[in-house]
Symmetry: C2
Subunit: 437 residues, 2 copies
Amino acid sequence: MKNEPSNNYEGMITMNKVLGIIAEYNPFHKGHLHHLQKAKQLVEPDYTIAVMSGNFTQRGEPAVIDKWARTQMALKNGIDLVIELPALYASQTAELFSAGAIQLLHMTGLVTHIAFGSEHNNLDELDMAARVLAEEPAEYRVLLRSYLNKGLSYPFARMRAMQEYFSCANWVKTISSELIESIFRGSNSILALEYLKALKRLESPIKPVIIPRLGASYNSPSLEGEFSSATAIRSAILSGKSWDSVATALPIPSLEILRETISNGWGPVSIHSFDQILLGLLRRSSTEEISNWMDVEEGLENRIKKHALESVNIEDFLNKVKTKRYTYTRFQRILIHALLGIKTQDISYYQEKGGPRYLRILGFNTRSIPLLSCLKKRAGLPIITKPSHYYRYGDKDLCTMFQYDVLAGDLYALALPNPENRMGGREFNQGLVMIQS
Amino acid sequence: MKNEPSNNYEGMITMNKVLGIIAEYNPFHKGHLHHLQKAKQLVEPDYTIAVMSGNFTQRGEPAVIDKWARTQMALKNGIDLVIELPALYASQTAELFSAGAIQLLHMTGLVTHIAFGSEHNNLDELDMAARVLAEEPAEYRVLLRSYLNKGLSYPFARMRAMQEYFSCANWVKTISSELIESIFRGSNSILALEYLKALKRLESPIKPVIIPRLGASYNSPSLEGEFSSATAIRSAILSGKSWDSVATALPIPSLEILRETISNGWGPVSIHSFDQILLGLLRRSSTEEISNWMDVEEGLENRIKKHALESVNIEDFLNKVKTKRYTYTRFQRILIHALLGIKTQDISYYQEKGGPRYLRILGFNTRSIPLLSCLKKRAGLPIITKPSHYYRYGDKDLCTMFQYDVLAGDLYALALPNPENRMGGREFNQGLVMIQS
């Protein structure tokens, strides 16, 4: 049974536009602030809702600080309401991550626009490419299959197949091979394609809005002043650099929250904090068990097992296990699947049912209280604000999905720098984050 | 099929007496040296063989330094040959630990005497008590059951049942309740009982020899000069006390080996080094999985799960989870079972087959080369000296049991202080320890 947002507008306050943002805010930096401000200028929304990953991110890493601290950052920087992307969807490929996030925004029944960054700015062109991905015409599928059979990695095979498809297609408009290549070159354009594809598949009325990217690229490893990448900021924090070196890249609320979180030993957390847990898990697991984890294609289990023995930490493992075809990030995601016990069939089960089963509110600011009451009327999914009540919905699928979030929190806790903070169960003890505004 | 030592004496050198010792040498201290010297004075053996636990010990802890360093200590202090007690048997109750160790010594086909320490010195009295444990007469069994049903812990119920049994039994000689209590009060006497019981069950010709204990008791927590307990020595090493404080309690070779091992980052290791791996494992496991681990009686799985969430490290967990009936040490052993994936049926399967399936040689000194060649002729079990060949025996049971030793080593490696030493596979790369003598 697929859920749908309700059409019940009875007794609702006037609300013309609600902006949706998909983000990790790991941590919330000036690039994020710029994006949010630009999007607000363009859309002029009454409210802004962010869908944010929890304690583990799309690249298969633990977030540098936990989801509550990051929710605080988001709210203090201008987001009105933060919804968690369930752990089952958070550490996934761009396709599943986007599908889950878009499904959540759609299910609010309130979001009218979604704004996202993209290296490639032309929405029409992105949309044409996304249509091919969403509809998967037979000719395109054949081309994709043939490139995959030639041994090309999935992202590369997809690009080639689309180039060839458009060179033969009898569409009114077409896009050149160069354009397609430029789309597939940017990690944000690829996410943008996936958002558009997910919107199409849902036949969602949400309008996409593109915000041109500014400053350092997503992966840039070094600090580059005001618009440094999140990667660079994280690595500066993790290497214990002075706060001065990252201060220029962060809005003041972010800096304050980061400093407080870290000084109390609630962060920073990196994949290294999981070295022993993860290598222990890999060494304890049989190749049969490994082959059941999500994304472990046939044969990879032996490779994983071998390198788990030959590595002294997870970074070492990832560098040894990766191949041209199976990337570092892909194996990093596999590790998160292993950690949380996610199997391929888990996610395909939920995708068949329409995606995430609940809207888990992490926090909101006080001005968005009317938004929350509208959400309760319009949402196509149960809203979780009191996690200790989650089983009361009597929905087995909801419970199972939510238990991954609980486990993600209980395992993330073990990686906290201050051993006294390593208690589990925070999912149930930590209240909603509320910010006065 | 049960194995038996061979009767083939053909071409063998004259060997009148071979002494067997069961030990953990964690680390080898002056108490151990005293024990060994006394035993040699009494038995006057041609050779001495030690059965030693590997990287995990009977109390359910990782050894403070690994089995190879401890083998070196044993050989340098007067042992001729060190055989490993398989991991499956090492972190078990006194009963299974003793059964495994005695079975190994029996299977050498060479050991004529076994010497052990005991707080209670009277062999006749110990022997009478051991006979009851070995034969389990029906009256005794009924008494034991009734005390267990009253809620008494197993060790206590056993003592009470034996007291009552002897007060009614029509044996020619009897032992008083006070004597029985004094036997069951000493942790070494209890082990002695188990050794004697195991010898009886095997109908082994090996002669037991008791060496009175000297110095601090097994568990004494503080350093007490020359005869400090291993517990006190370990805790001094782990708390980073100066070498001077432990030097008096250790023979010079032990001190040298310990210092070298620790200065190279191969130790010390404590249960704290497993905090994250173990709490991670407990939090990841369902109550159903937990209930399958060895020694987890019905209902304990919920208790374990609850306290795994409410604890910040393993010591905290053990202090919270223990009860009057289920002790700290018992839960600590359960953790090792969990770590290595040992289930109750695993050990009962092997016990039905007669115990350990191989004699794994960890090391020897050069004067014992004739002993080794006799061992090859007489042993009732395959001898493993080249671990990489273990699967060549074509014995599935041997392979399965040996894989626990391999896993124990691969997981122990993750706890080493120097991250560069955390590679797995040492079981196969590390040669036999050989000491010139």
